[in-house]
């Protein structure tokens, strides 16, 4: 059984650690990390296609939304499920995230325990969906 290949595009090392912890609890999941949008595009271009992308849209340089739009344009990448995370609670930003066309969007909770359980929920949802 192939592992669930998750690409996390996240610039906060603290969050990366939590993502790895929550997702790799299940042995079937493997997490790769891109620290910014440019690196992400590079990895998508040259490395294996991931099964799931976790995207923090508040990325510096190439914005998360812009990255998403670019992915949509590329037919190879267009159908990869994306979970969008936003740390800003501003209604404007939330609306942007909502309308991005992602499979799911999450406002990163302040409470770390809640964040971890959300990540686990995401893991369980997508692990179940992997074709055996």
């Amino acid at each position: 059984m192939t592992p669930l290949d998750v690409l996390a595009i996240e610039d906060n090392p603290g969050d990366v650690r939590l993502i790895r912890e929550a997702l790799e609890e299940d042995d079937r999941v493997r997490v790769r990390v891109a620290w910014d949008g440019a690196e992400a595009l590079d990895m998508l271009e040259h490395e294996a296609r991931p099964d799931l992308i976790l995207l923090d849209i508040n990325l510096p340089s190439v914005g998360g939304l812009e990255l998403l739009a670019r992915m949509r344009e590329d037919p190879k990448l267009a159908d990869i499920p994306v979970v969008v995370f936003t740390s800003s609670r501003l209604v404007e930003d939330v609306r942007d995230a909502e309308g991005s066309g992602a499979a799911m969007f999450v406002v990163k909770p302040f409470d770390v325990l809640e964040y971890l359980s959300t990540l686990r929920r995401i893991r369980r949802r997508f692990v179940e969906e992997i074709p055996a």
């Binding site: 906060n12 090392p13 603290g14 969050d15 939590l18 508040n58 740390s87 800003s88 609670r89 501003l90 209604v91 404007e92 990163k108 302040f110 409470d111 770390v112 325990l113 964040y115």
Partner: protein
């Protein structure tokens, strides 16, 4: 000058010619007009002393007497006597140097009459003594001379001053001269029967009186009338007596006394008239001086222009700005201004471009007023202000305002960006401290737990602050999308957002009449949410918050009110509390970052409205705000 010299000779010549004509028609009638000689010569001398003029006029006088009386001795002595009279008069005129010169001032007028009275009396006395005529003739002569100077002086003055044809004083002068001539002629050698003579004299008297009354000097006219009546009576008496060869001293004295009384009246009347006139002239001079002084002191350039568009008067400031423009057309420094002032409302400012001597242009503000000249012609007076500096200052101010607005926007954007970027690291700190507490609880003692607890609190507070700062700065930087919104919608939305808090505190929120106004939906929701949140939070322990939201009309637009039954805000703090980071209560009692009301104020002001705080009827706070239709451009 030349003009006046010609007149100086022409007038007595004309008198002579007419007199001679009359003489040829009716014997003895012409001499009256020759009597014009003395006052005329005197007036001309006062105007401009000239030996040639004396010579010519004396010759005319002698010739006239000769032709009229055919008596050489009589004519020579008459001419000599007249010359003496004139010279003595002129001498008196010069001697009284303390009195103003010329005859075109009231005091000068008086001086002339006085001088001539003296001179004429001297001449007449001399004549009387040499010629052994009755005293009546010299007295008549003196009277005639003085009357002559009083009547002719206004005419000469009007010539000197160059008054226009229809100037009232000129008219009066001519009428007076005519009336005088009539009296003089009728009195001196009357060929007409007594009744006719009286009528002529009466007519002449009435004319003079009317002239003086018209000039408004009532007292003078009454005095003149009175004096002339006396003179007339005196002369009548004298002429009747002339018929008899001998004249007793008493009769002579009576005649003299009556005549002198008449003369006295005349002088008296003239003095009063002159004093009144003098006062009028002085007032007018003061008024003119005042205008001149005001024009000189005025900070603005002032100019008076006639119908023809030429400059009649320009004050110093005008000359400074445009150079010496007297007499030049105004259009060369203020093109088109006269048409513009005609077109504009009176007392409005017109801004036009003025042109300097060197051709360079600059903006000016012009106000105008009209008035009429002495002769009735319309004049336009303009006040011109150089507004170059003001325009520059205006531009400066606009630049400054736009710079300020840009700076504000930059600051707000910076705060926004900073808060944005602060959130993530802050979350990380809070997260791992919590995990530490959670996962290492067993290894940590009570103190460590306490430390971690305090660290967590600090982190949480910081997170709240950053979140609020983000909201606050977003209130300044986010674009507002204005459309008509029924305020009920954002209010209900805000209530929805605060559902949890409302439930927990058992709060009740009542929505009253709310208008439909132009505004941004999100901004309005934020406003209501912040105000409601405050009302829920700032209540005394144990009290359930009761909040009312409604609106009232007012002269400045609809006022929206959010009223509660909470702690209230004391009057001295009401302005402060709208500032950022201002809190009234200790942190441990009531949490909060002090940014809520500041954000609300920002949003209200960006809508062009106003926010203020009042007491509520339940002892709490009422926050009132207005929203205008248009949004201000300044962020």
């Amino acid at each position: 000058m030349r003009y006046l010299r010609a007149q100086a000779i022409l007038v007595p010549v004309a008198g002579l010619v007419v007199g001679l004509l009359l003489e040829t028609m009716i014997d003895g009638t012409g001499i009256g007009l020759v009597r014009l000689g003395v006052p005329w010569m005197f007036l001309m001398l006062v105007r401009r002393p000239s030996a040639m003029l004396i010579g010519v006029l004396t010759a005319i006088n002698y010739g006239g007497h000769l032709l009229a009386s055919h008596d050489v001795a009589f004519s020579s002595s008459a001419a000599l006597g007249d010359l003496t009279a004139v010279l003595v008069s002129y001498g008196a005129q010069l001697a009284w140097r303390s009195w103003p010169g010329g005859i075109d001032t009231p005091m000068g007028y008086m001086r002339a009459a006085g001088s001539l009275t003296l001179g004429s009396t001297v001449g007449a006395v001399g004549w009387w003594m040499t010629m052994s005529h009755g005293i009546q003739l010299p007295v008549d002569v003196v009277t005639a001379d003085v009357l002559g100077v009083l009547a002719l002086a206004p005419l000469v003055t009007s010539w000197q001053r160059g008054w226009p044809r229809n100037h009232p004083f000129k008219m009066q002068g001519m009428l007076a001269a005519g009336a005088y001539l009539l009296i003089a002629w009728a009195n001196m050698f009357p060929p007409i029967p007594r009744a006719g003579r009286h009528m002529l004299q009466a007519a002449a008297l009435l004319t003079i009186s009317w002239m003086v009354l018209r000039a408004g000097r009532r007292f003078t006219s009454i005095a003149w009338l009175g004096s002339i009546v006396f003179i007339w009576v005196g002369m009548e008496h004298g002429i009747t007596l002339l018929g008899h060869e001998s004249l007793t001293l008493e009769e002579a004295m009576l005649t003299t006394r009556v005549t002198l009384m008449g003369l006295g009246f005349m002088v008296f009347g003239a003095v009063f008239g002159m004093l009144g006139y003098q006062q009028m002239v002085r007032r007018s001079a003061v008024s003119e001086e005042r205008s001149r002084a005001m024009a000189a002191a005025a900070p603005d350039a002032m100019v008076v222009v006639g119908l023809d568009g030429r400059v009649r008067f320009a004050n110093d400031r005008f000359v400074e700005l445009f150079g010496d423009v007297a007499g030049s057309p105004l259009g060369q420094c203020l093109p088109g201004i006269i048409e513009a002032t005609h077109a504009a409302e009176p007392s409005t400012c017109i801004v036009v471009d003025a042109r300097r001597e060197d051709g360079s242009e600059f903006p000016v503000e012009v106000t105008s007023a009209r008035y009429n000249d002495v002769d009735g012609s319309p004049l336009l007076t303009l006040s011109v202000r150089d507004v170059t500096e003001r325009r520059e200052q205006q531009h400066e101010l606009e630049r400054f305002a736009s710079d300020l607005s840009r700076t504000n926007k930059d600051l707000a954007q910076f705060a926004y960006a900073a808060s944005h970027d602060l959130q993530e690291p802050l979350r990380t700190v809070a997260s791992y401290v919590t995990l530490l507490q959670h996962r290492y609880a067993a290894q940590l003692d009570a103190t460590a737990g306490e430390y971690i607890g305090l660290a967590t609190d600090g982190a949480e507070r910081l997170q709240a602050l950053v979140a609020d700062l983000l909201e606050y700065s977003s209130a300044s930087t986010q674009e507002l999308g204005v459309r008509p919104i029924c305020l009920r919608a954002p209010a209900e939305e805000a209530i929805g957002f605060l559902e949890g808090q409302i439930r927990k505190s058992n709060a009740t929120v009542e929505l009253g009449d709310l208008p439909t106004l132009n505004g941004d939906g999100v901004a309005l929701r934020r406003i209501f949410q912040s105000l409601l949140s405050n009302s829920i939070k700032f209540v005394p322990e144990g009290r359930a918050p009761c909040i009312r939201i409604w609106s009232e009309p007012s002269p400045e637009g609809t006022v929206v009110m959010v009223s509660d039954n909470g702690l209230g805000i004391p009057e001295e703090h009401r302005d402060q509390v709208l500032e950022p980071f201002r809190r009234l209560h200790a942190r441990h009692r009531y949490a909060g970052t002090g940014l809520g009301l500041a954000m609300v104020r920002r949003l209200v002001e960006r809508h062009g409205g106003r926010i203020w705080i009042e007491d509520s009827s339940e002892g709490g706070t009422t926050v009132c705000f207005t929203l205008r239709g248009a949004l201000r451009r300044i962020a």
